[in-house]
């Protein structure tokens, strides 16, 4: 398609805010008419919050446990009761033999089993060490490691209490004692980790996917030709298309922050203003990506696929949103450095959970700035090229 002869108004310098306002008016009318999409846009963050907030829980408590007590003395029963009372475990059954233990573990009825040997109480009364066996289902290594930790912690506690009570010891309790304190998230709630990350995902969806779809819709409808022959400059159209989504994104941000607090009790320790600034930086990067995608896709289907692949997937998988980055193999970690998601998630978690600000998070702020500027510049020039 050859460039048509330029009408005189096109050659003016600078952006006309009147034109942009006109485009905005059209966008808002469009949005208002499409009631269903509008409701979806605002319902989406809440449904995501609920699905991820309730679905993604790594917290392991009430580990199903089978106890095989060969000793059947007050001491052994006491040990069993303490394990259940600790809240870490829930009793599946008191097994009568090894076969039942095997069945429980093999059939996924319990994740761990404790076997108390015959001379248990006798050893303790004589002040000698007694050994308890534990079998742990290692299928889910995560749960297994945690269950093993609980068992060890329980045994130490039981030992210490016993030592304090009996005092008939041949061996004195010496050794290293560990006192741990958990910072930032002392109740160890998974939601505190997930909710800030959801903000990143939603920003990406609104900024990249919805924006790309909105622009490509013009292409599909054919209305883009009309715009090309009008005095509207490509940059003005781009800004006009973007602004509604900036507004939507910030409304979504507010929804997630408030709902996160009301539904999941996730508070923000740091400054809301800094949160908004980082969100704006990340949103800019997402919008740039959205515009970029709109320049390479011709149909809405392609646009959606491309946007999901370039923006959504990396921001879910490679940003540390759910899966910790530090444990991934080096090549994959390397790839994550090229996407803005990881910097934003680090920053937003810092603000939410650690209460830090730009003083600590300046590297992330700087990188996000570079990303945003870079991608907006790239996509704006492509956009102008394609439509100019």
């Amino acid at each position: 398609m050859t460039t048509p002869a330029q009408p005189p108004s096109r050659r003016r310098r600078g952006l006309s805010w009147r034109t942009i306002r006109a485009i905005l008016r059209r966008e808002f009318t469009d949005v208002r008419r499409d009631r269903r999409s509008l409701i979806l846009t605002f319902l989406y963050p809440i449904s995501m919050l609920i699905m991820y907030g309730y679905g993604i829980r790594y917290d392991v408590d009430n580990v199903p446990l089978t106890i095989l007590d060969y000793d059947e003395t007050p001491e052994s029963r006491d040990l069993g009761e303490q394990m259940i009372r600790s809240g870490y475990f829930q009793l599946v059954r008191q097994a009568r033999n090894q076969h039942e233990v095997d069945r429980d573990l093999t059939r996924d009825k319990s994740k761990a089993a404790v076997i108390i040997p015959v001379q248990f109480a006798a050893h303790i009364r004589a002040g000698e060490p007694a050994t308890v066996q534990a079998i742990i289902d290692g299928s889910d290594s995560n749960t297994a490691t945690i269950a093993q930790g609980y068992l060890l912690a329980m045994m130490s506690r039981y030992s210490a209490e016993l030592a304090a009570r009996t005092r008939a010891l041949k061996t004195p309790p010496a050794g290293v004692q560990l006192k741990s304190r958990v910072w930032y998230n002392p109740e160890l709630k998974s939601v505190n980790f997930i909710v800030p990350g959801i903000i990143a995902v939603i920003m990406m969806i609104v900024g990249a996917i919805l924006t790309a779809l909105s622009i490509v819709k013009e292409k599909e409808r054919g209305t883009i030709e009309q715009i090309l022959v009008s005095p509207i400059r490509p940059l003005e159209m781009m800004i006009g298309k973007i602004i509604p989504y900036v507004i939507i994104a910030f409304i979504d941000l507010a929804i997630v922050v408030v709902a996160g607090y009301l539904i999941f009790a996730v508070p923000i320790k740091g400054s809301l203003v800094q949160l908004a600034i980082f969100a704006l930086l990340y949103l800019t990067a997402s919008l740039g990506t959205g515009v970029f995608v709109s320049t390479i896709a011709d149909t809405m289907q392609t646009a959606m696929l491309a946007a999901i692949f370039i923006s959504l997937m990396p921001s879910i998988l490679l940003s540390g949103f759910v899966f910790p980055l530090e444990n991934m193999p080096a090549p994959i970690r390397l790839i994550s450095y090229f996407f803005p998601g990881r910097y934003f998630v680090t920053a937003i978690r810092g603000i939410y959970l650690k209460g830090v600000g730009i003083g600590v998070l300046w590297p992330e702020a700087l990188l996000l700035l570079c990303f945003s500027v870079g991608i907006v510049w790239l996509s704006a020039s492509r956009f102008q090229e394609k439509l100019g």
Binding site: I56, R57, K111, S139, T143, G149, P172, K179, N185, M328
Partner: protein, 378 residues
């Protein structure tokens, strides 16, 4: 009977040709297993080791160094930064450079030599509660079970000052002793791939007829609905099994994950799950009018399956209400079967409950879907 089979065969052949011509679908078919192996094998399956640690050693004795050494040699921890003061600890944790800061007080070795309990303090970054709990578990494990070398001035060294617990624990890990996450994820990938190819791809294939308007032409031929459905499904069932083979091979040769149980049992029970997926694919195809809609609807159906089946996140960790809901997720039973066969080497007797549920599910959904399909055709 023979005529029926030959009609089915013709539909299969037509479908295969159409697939080979549809470059986008072909691309999807190739990319899906590869992508998911990478994503779920490397990104999701993270084993937490080499946790970033900083130690403020105010004792600087042989004993304290021996303790730190135990932590590092276990492979669970890695010294990521130096730390000399409380401010360092604050800074490092705030910045996220370390996940655990250990402080060893100046009287550490003195206390040990006097045969008194010596305290150390750990500050753990709780942002990621999972990593935090596991790091804590590692610390407990090493502190409670490893010995610290104690050097006595006149009497030489005594090895083995660990808390002499009256009750000690001997843990054994079954089924996955090296505790590798991949062994847990690879069976899951097989399940998800099977579901994807059967629900999404089959639905797309069926909807393609609607979209191109060729559905009417098919109706006027002697082909019955069930022959059409079976014919369309067979290539994708085949594909499902091919994907399974690919993942099995990749699992064995690349990830080092082997099957403990019986392969024929796995293939057979997969057939039951296929019934359910076919049913779901059929339902998707009846509610969609374009291939794009089919693809979206299919993914929409797939997502809760992936989330609430125990594929990525343990069901036992979900709130009790949600746990009850997972009973209606068909993938939950299939994953249980596949993981049982892979990791625990269980046999038919252990799996017959799940198999029965899948059978009932499959027959119900497939029946329902065929009825709606027939109605639509009319």
């Amino acid at each position: 009977m023979i005529a029926s089979l030959s009609r089915i065969f013709r539909v299969v052949w037509k479908e295969v040709i159409q697939i080979s011509r549809d470059r986008r679908m072909f691309g999807m078919i190739l990319m899906m297993p590869l992508l998911e192996l990478i994503i779920f094998g490397y990104v999701v399956a993270t084993d937490i080791t080499n946790v970033d640690l900083a130690v403020c050693d105010f004792d600087q004795s042989t004993e304290s160094r021996s303790y730190i050494d135990q932590l590092v040699r276990s492979g669970y921890f890695r010294i990521a930064a130096q730390c000399h003061s409380v401010q360092d600890v604050n800074r490092l944790l705030d910045r996220g450079r370390i996940k655990v800061a250990l402080t060893i007080p100046p009287d550490f070795s003195a206390k040990l030599k006097r045969q008194q309990p010596a305290e150390v303090m750990a500050a753990i970054d709780g942002s990621n509660s999972n990593t935090a709990t596991i790091a804590g578990a590692y610390l407990d494990q090493i502190t409670f079970t490893q010995a610290v070398d104690v050097q006595f001035a006149d009497h030489g060294r005594i090895v083995g000052v660990a808390p002499h617990p009256i009750v000690s624990l001997e843990p054994r890990v079954w089924f996955n002793p090296e505790l590798r996450s991949v062994r847990f994820m690879v069976p899951g990938i097989i399940c998800v791939l099977l579901m994807e190819s059967l629900v999404i791809l089959t639905a797309i294939a069926l909807v393609r007829e609607k979209e191109h308007g060729t559905m009417e032409q098919l109706i006027v031929t002697p082909i019955r609905s069930y022959e059409l459905i079976i014919g369309k499904a067979i290539p994708f069932i085949g594909l499902g099994y091919v994907n399974m083979a690919v993942v099995l091979l990749a699992g064995t040769f690349w990830f080092g994950v082997e099957i403990s149980g019986s392969l024929p049992l796995l293939l057979g029970l997969s057939g039951l799950f296929i019934l359910t997926c076919l049913g779901m694919g059929l339902v998707v195809s009846t509610i969609s009018n374009t291939q794009q809609q089919a693809s979206m609807a299919g993914q929409f159906l797939l997502l809760p399956n992936m989330f609430f089946s125990g594929f990525m996140f343990p069901i036992a960790s979900m709130p009790p209400v949600v746990q009850k809901l997972t009973y209606i997720v068909p993938l939950r039973y299939y994953i249980s079967i596949v993981r049982g066969i892979f990791l625990k080497g269980v046999g038919w007797s252990a799996l017959k409950d799940e198999a029965a549920i899948l059978l009932v599910y499959g027959v119900l959904i497939l029946g329902l879907a065929t009825l709606t399909f027939r109605k639509q055709v009319k």
